[in-house]
């Protein structure tokens, strides 16, 4: 389980980055780069692609630090969103067909065997989400995790799980609705 950096420290580092303090960016990198890279490796599949995306993400964090508004969200959520969005954009730009190639199929089979829902680790602060994921059907939970953590499109999930695309879309939509209802706000 990763140690989540202290939010107020991250806020302060981002404020310093906005003032063009390069030392603050280096500290920020030391604090959050491993966590972001862990996310990117799962989304992009290869370490090289993930490290390239990480590099892009930090350059964007530097460029956009002035736009971070603490009143509208947590610093870690803001940085994770920048990294995830970069990875998703790269994925969408490079994978233009919905057909799985041999390597992806092999990876997908591995995922299926692993059962990603059973491999999650949660800290105490994440209890609400863990409890709410447990109320979803196994199929809904698996679809949400394959999409969010592995970056699979709905078309790829359909091929992987062997269900029609409409069914996958429905599972995802209902899963998200249930999650929101369970977590409140």
């Amino acid at each position: 389980m990763a140690t989540v950096p202290d939010g107020s420290e991250l806020d302060s580092l981002l404020r310093r980055c906005a003032r063009r303090d390069a030392a603050a960016l280096q500290t920020l990198y030391a604090r959050v780069a491993p966590q972001l890279l862990g996310i990117l490796v799962r989304l992009l599949g290869t370490r090289t692609a993930a490290e390239d995306a990480l590099q892009d993400a930090f350059i964007r964090i530097w460029q956009q630090a002035g736009q971070f508004d603490r009143s509208k969200g947590r610093a870690m959520a803001w940085m994770v969103a920048i990294a995830r969005n970069r990875a998703i954009d790269l994925q969408r730009a490079s994978r233009t067909t919905v057909l799985l190639d041999a390597a992806e199929l092999a990876g997908a089979e591995q995922l299926q065997v692993d059962g990603p829902a059973d491999n999650l680790e949660f800290g105490a602060t994440h209890d609400a989400l863990r409890r709410c994921l447990e109320i979803l059907s196994t199929a809904q939970r698996q679809c949400l995790l394959l999409a969010y953590q592995r970056g699979l499109t709905q078309e790829r999930i359909a091929l992987l799980i062997g269900q029609p695309l409409g069914t996958i879309k429905s599972w995802i939509r209902r899963g998200l609705e249930s999650l929101k209802a369970c977590m409140g706000s």
Binding site: L37, G38, R42, T96, H126, I172, S185
Partner: protein
């Protein structure tokens, strides 16, 4: 779509953060977030809700060479006097690419007169020197969006990408407008800064970059196209 419906905004926000929206839908939702605070709030609530799923993943330590690369990129952004290597490549290719692109742009603008879709304005045609055009660029009237359409087969190694740049009219470093698609079309929302630059700029350029785009924020590979921007009519 009627974006006033809160349930629709909520669903789009959830699917955006989950990562299952298609490229165009993603771009539309990002634009929506710029225009409607409710959309942005819904998106941020979902980013917060799902954040533990990201933090649950085991960290991976980056290679030791990564931080120096970021530092160099950040330094080069701060140092306005530094002329990046890629810019000399821009100067080498400029005359040839300009000639080819002017012809292509003239043909395109002639054709576009007859198009029925009024939302997009022709912006540029991107053609390598002595080769068929590869992409057509259009922009919305307010330059808040650009639409990129591939015109023919785009061949490139999987480890590489083509990146689009706007060349500021008063000189200065090229500014990235993102990666170009290999097939199909792609709509992209521009930041206010990109938009201002684009409205004043006269040229765009295309460089060959690593698959994830330029690691430095400036062109690093060969510049294969410099194309004029058509003036708004």
């Amino acid at each position: 779509m009627n974006y006033d419906r809160p349930e629709l905004l909520e669903r789009l926000a959830a699917e955006y953060v989950l990562g299952v929206l298609r490229r165009r839908a993603r771009a539309r939702f990002e634009r929506l977030c710029d225009e409607f605070p409710d959309a942005l709030s819904a998106r941020q609530r979902w980013e917060d809700r799902l954040l533990p799923l990201s933090l649950a993943l085991a960290p991976v330590t980056p290679g030791a060479d990564r931080w120096p690369r970021i530092q160099r990129a950040v330094d080069s952004m701060s140092d306005s006097g530094a002329a990046p290597t890629a810019r000399s490549a821009l100067r080498r290719w400029w005359p040839l690419a300009l000639a080819a692109s002017l012809i292509a742009a003239a043909v395109l603008i002639g054709k576009l007169t007859f198009w029925s879709e009024p939302v997009w304005q022709p912006m540029a045609v991107l053609a390598p020197a002595n080769a068929a055009p590869l992409w057509r660029l259009e922009r919305s009237a307010d330059a808040a969006r650009i639409n990129i359409r591939t015109l023919g087969p785009v061949t490139l190694k999987l480890t590489q990408s083509y990146e689009l740049w706007v060349l500021p009219s008063g000189g200065g470093n090229p500014v990235s407008l993102g990666l170009l698609p290999r097939q199909g079309s792609l709509e992209r929302h521009l930041t206010p800064a990109q938009r201002t630059l684009l409205l004043a700029a006269r040229q765009v350029a295309v460089s060959v970059e690593p698959a994830s785009g330029s690691p430095t924020g400036l062109p690093t590979g060969p510049v294969i196209i410099v194309a004029p921007i058509a003036r708004a009519t």
